[in-house]
Symmetry: C2
Subunit: 295 residues, 2 copies
């Protein structure tokens, strides 16, 4: 059977069909109807579903079920989005609302967990039983594979690795606490610190560092030290086999990975250090991961 996945973000709603081999066989996206309420979101999702199935020549009865990835906390059993700030969803019964228009079972998943699932099934975490996905963007997201399956948190809240404390009492985080890893290891940190020497984005900072700019190199070195300590913290707690890094900053490839691996190896408490790799499931990991949660 085929499965249908949605990746609902604050900018776009992306969706697609995945086949038995977990390959995306058709996809499309529309702009997220910001400020128009959940009814508009449901209508757009229904339209996207029909358009993608039509274009792919897939009949509705070929679809086993629908998975939906959202950037926020969800209760999959109740089919509830507890809180997805960027979507304006608060205690929204999204699964029930979608089931009423799609006539299919709908299951929700946090977007970072969906990406982790995709990495585990078809990407950089394939073959691992205990591993972590860390996405470095404006903030930090992530997901954990423990004993071969997605770990949704001990109480079902998922994981919020960006809010591990890396420098207690340090930089102020949007969550209200001082010293969260997110304030040191996100792309935002590189952009913020890069402003002092005229760089506006993490990408510009990394490019400047690659070209030997002294300010950018100094910042990048401090970033590697922070990021390395952050990853070492997770390793020393969970002893994972592999850590995959996704998000824009991971695009720096070996320029990031080589010094990062060396830093983590020094700080890892165990005799050998887990593998640190770049995520490979790509931009559609959210859609694919959403499709993968359909049982």
């Amino acid at each position: 059977m085929l499965r249908f996945g949605y990746d609902i973000g604050g900018t776009n709603i992306a969706a697609g069909i995945i086949d038995e081999n977990n390959c995306l066989i058709a996809k499309d996206s529309v702009k997220f109807p910001r400020g128009e309420g959940s009814e508009a979101v449901i209508a757009d999702c229904a339209g996207l579903y029909k358009a993608i199935l039509d274009r792919a020549g897939v009949a509705a009865d070929e679809i086993a079920g629908v998975g939906v990835a959202v950037p926020g906390s969800v209760n999959p059993e109740a089919g509830l989005v507890i809180d997805a700030h960027n979507l304006g969803f608060h205690h929204t019964p999204l699964a029930t609302l979608l089931e009423a228009v799609l006539f299919k079972p709908v299951r929700l998943v946090n977007d970072a967990d969906a990406a982790t699932l995709a990495e585990h099934r078809i990407g950089a975490l394939k073959g691992t039983r205990t591993a972590m996905m860390i996405t470095i963007g404006t903030g930090i997201g992530g997901g954990l594979i423990i004993n071969g399956t997605l770990f949704g948190g001990g109480r079902g809240n998922g994981t919020e690795p960006g809010h591990m404390v890396l420098c207690n009492g340090g930089r102020h985080c949007t969550c209200g606490i001082d010293g969260c890893a997110e304030t040191y290891c996100s792309a935002t940190r590189l952009a913020k610190d890069g402003a002092s020497f005229g760089k506006a984005t993490a990408k510009e900072v990394i490019e400047a560092a690659k070209q030997g700019n002294a300010d950018a190199l100094e910042l990048f070195k401090a970033y590697i030290d922070d990021f390395g300590s952050y990853i070492a913290s997770i390793i020393n707690l969970l002893d994972p086999e592999r850590i995959a890094i996704g998000g824009g900053v991971s695009g720096a490839g070996d320029f990031l990975l080589k010094p990062l691996r060396a830093d983590v190896a020094r700080k890892c408490f165990f005799e050998t250090c887990p593998e640190i790799v770049v995520a490979s499931a790509g931009n559609d990991a959210g859609i694919i991961g959403a499709g993968l949660i359909v049982s």
Copy 2:
């Protein structure tokens, strides 16, 4: 069937018999034969085994197996102590050596994991599926229960929660890294900082704080802030149901727990905060946990 457990420490070798209800029905201990090599340890273990069985009136064929908790890294499958610095054991085939004198199957476990198992089966973590035990002593030890069972690390190395980084670049840790949680949250930190106002131990610092000593109160407040951020880091990553705190510092009871819970509640990213409790399996948790790993 009955089970026999050893808790081998750098000071004492403690051992005992546990029954079907996981109760310790007989126990004894001898001094650890420091510097006399593994043969002396094996001889002492054998003597302790015979003495305890004799005194309890238990025949050897009533013992199903033997568990051994050691302060270090172990490979239970190979029956090997990889490294237990305090015991002078390095790649020591302890299980095989003991099996040769006890004529019973012997299984090894890290001592912090043994204590965690005891808390989970008979102590403060009873009834949980995802929980953490943190022991605050000279250093910091701990163990994780995930999905209802002891989590021995993704690669079998266990957990080293004392070496999560809490203040990157901060206080120098014995492991060589600057900023490990151990340097901020251990009893050693309280003793070290207390020296500046004439207190020699964590207990003395806590007693002075209880009595309103301004220096001690200031130190204790900083300690709670560090300890709270440390626990919040673990919560934000794993979302556990409950965290149990053991070791000498936990003897401070509500004087520690009340401000600690308030601090963690503030720093916890989720809507509700997991329970934070004092470990309750007692001083024999190591022996009992060792017995519990006998299948």
